[in-house]
């Protein structure tokens, strides 16, 4: 039966009593897993008082496929394409972290040109990850379409470079133990140089469009504040940590690859709020462009793979190793235990976005539901990596 206006008016309503008011009562809401702003299948059980968040428990595992056990049942090289699927935005850095750990485990040296190629590809990955993250974050805030399309326009150019080099746009499977899979020719390097030269222009445009925008400031400043002490204790890494003013970047702290050869600065925030986290990405992209330009100027022809590495029947010595790099989302580590066999005894991924979610509740308490999506967007998660 369709309720008409008359029947609705004629309906008897229960009398309003004091106990039926919402004040002081918590309403439990399940946000997600099918929600456009949760960046995949991620759920938050939220207890609300009116619109204010009083409790928040993240729920995940919807994409869990036990990546680590699959890694233990596969050869060392067989896991390489599978690491692409962890953080599917940044397959190049995933490859590098895994290759670095295996190289530590078995003491493999990497030729000079391969190290330069790795730096170039990692910084390109950082550019496209940060650009699209800013686009997504703005989209979460309600700026539908335009900023995301601007960011994706630039991301497409970088993905075209990946495709022409590795044969795939997102699932690159490019690094190998002791080097890289294919060499970059001069045309490719020229194309990369062109993108590095033009990227600051896009950043200027993007800054003007977004970072000075009044609505963006109102939505993000003083929202989701995180103190430096809590960030360190909770193992937060990447732009989220540096937004709190902690100067820690694995590229500087460990100096892996050829990073000590390049001059670049580490942008630091002051307040640790969502706006600072947004700024960190914008500023880091400018530094990445600087690293790219230096690496492209220094790269020399040479071999790209260590000829001593046996690709087939690869068996590292008995022992263990933990290798880590600064991935765009934070510190990405791989922990491997070898029992001398063809596949690892233990294969563990230290996913940055999984650990960065630890303090999601602390950041959201006291803010409104609408802010939760903005705060979650600024954490920069990818469920392929969180759930593994």
């Amino acid at each position: 039966m369709i309720a008409t206006v008359e029947t609705l008016e004629a309906m008897e309503r229960p009398p309003v009593t004091m106990s039926s008011r919402l004040e002081g009562e918590l309403l439990e809401v399940s946000m997600g897993p099918q929600h456009p702003s949760t960046h995949g299948v991620f759920r938050m059980n939220v207890a609300l008082e009116g619109e204010v968040v009083r409790k928040l428990k993240p729920v995940f595992g919807y994409l869990h496929r036990n990546h680590e056990q699959i890694g233990e049942h596969t050869t060392y090289l067989g896991s390489m394409p599978y690491t692409d699927r962890l953080d599917y935005f940044c397959s190049m850095t995933n490859n590098w972290a895994y290759a670095l750990s295996v190289e530590k485990l078995s003491g493999i040296e990497v030729p000079e040109r391969a190290e330069y190629l790795r730096v170039i590809l990692a910084e390109l990955t950082r550019l496209q990850n940060h650009a699209s993250l800013l686009g997504f974050l703005l989209s979460d805030m309600g700026a539908w379409g335009t900023p995301l399309m601007y960011a994706f326009r630039e991301r497409e150019k970088i993905l075209d470079l990946f495709e022409s080099l590795a044969g795939s746009r997102m699932m690159c499977d490019y690094m190998r133990f002791g080097g890289c899979r294919v060499d970059a020719d001069d045309n490719w390097l020229a194309g990369t140089r062109k993108i590095a030269d033009r990227f600051p222009k896009f950043l200027d445009e993007f800054d003007e469009l977004i970072l000075g925008n009044e609505i963006v400031m109102a939505r993000t400043q003083n929202v989701g504040k995180l103190s430096a002490d809590l960030a360190i204790s909770a193992g937060i890494t990447g732009p989220m940590l540096r937004a709190c003013g902690v100067n820690y970047d694995v590229r500087k702290a460990d100096g892996y690859g050829f990073y000590p050869r390049f001059k670049f600065r580490i942008p630091l925030g002051e307040h640790g709020d969502t706006y600072d986290r947004l700024m960190m990405r914008a500023l880091e992209m400018r530094e990445s462009v600087q690293i790219l330009k230096q690496a492209l100027a220094q790269i020399q022809p040479g071999p790209i793979v260590n000829p001593k590495v046996k690709i087939r029947a690869f068996r590292p010595p008995i022992g263990e190793a933990y290798g880590r790099i600064e991935a765009p989302k934070g510190e990405l580590g791989f922990y491997l235990i070898s029992d001398g066999g063809p596949n690892p005894y233990r294969y563990r991924v230290r996913p940055p976005s999984f650990i960065n979610l630890t303090i999601l509740e602390d950041m959201c308490l006291g803010h409104t539901v609408a802010d939760v999506m903005v705060i979650l967007g600024s954490v920069d998660i990818v469920m392929g990596e969180v759930d593994r």
Binding site: G235, I337, R348, L357
Partner: protein, 221 residues
């Protein structure tokens, strides 16, 4: 950063009664680790975090490892008198190690930018006594990672604020990262009464003829 032997002796001086062992790592990575006893684990962790020289304030990676029962064969060359002559003879000794679960923590310092110092704790066995003290009160970053170990390996962490499954669903019963884990033939088994399927369905469900009479349905001849 100071050598591992020095860290070990300083911990022993600061935490009385602690038992620490250096676990050597034979790979080129040279990342040796400290095995600490479970009773004093939290004191040791607190010392490592607060000591002004070490300041290991950043617990990067926490993970579990499963070790099954195994026998380690060692071959040692011993000088022996054989027929009045001294000869080198290889002697093989077998050592049986019963299985245990292990939790490994990789610690770094954000203040001094050094690391890693690796500490590990071992459970007494792989079943009832699979318990370890939680280090979440020392490093908050262990919160989700210890939950993950509890979920996938079944180590119970005493003193963890919120020990629940994290990646698998709550009703799941086994621990899928264990080395002796066997997958069920189908995670979402829903029997339908047909030939071979009916036979398999009978293995999975207790008969309940009073409810649906499924037991009386015969396979078509």
């Amino acid at each position: 950063m100071e050598a591992l032997e020095q860290i070990k002796s300083r911990i022993e001086a600061a935490v009385p009664g602690v038992k620490i062992e250096i676990v050597a790592n034979g790979s080129p990575s040279q990342q040796h680790s400290l095995k600490i006893d479970n009773e004093h684990a939290r004191d040791v962790a607190k010392f490592l975090r607060d000591d002004p020289v070490l300041r290991l304030d950043f617990c990067s990676n926490v993970t579990g490892v499963d070790w099954l029962d195994r026998t380690v064969k060692k071959t040692v060359k011993v000088k022996k008198l054989v027929d009045g002559e001294e000869k080198e003879v290889a002697e093989t000794t077998e050592e049986k190690i019963s299985g245990y679960l292990e939790a490994v923590y990789h610690l770094y310092s954000m203040t001094h930018k050094h690391g890693p110092v690796i500490i590990r704790m071992r459970t007494a066995d792989r079943a009832e006594k699979a318990c370890l003290p939680s280090l979440t009160p020392i490093w908050r970053s262990a919160e989700f990672q210890e939950r993950e170990i509890f979920d996938l390996y079944g180590i119970r962490f005493d003193g963890h604020p919120d020990l629940r499954r994290i990646l698998m669903w709550d009703e799941f019963e086994d621990h899928p990262m264990r080395k002796d884990y066997v997958q069920p033939d189908d995670f979402e088994w829903e029997p339908t009464p047909h030939d071979a399927v009916l036979a398999r369905a009978k293995q999975h469900y207790a008969p309940r003829p009073q409810m649906d009479g499924a037991e009386n349905i015969a396979a078509p001849q």
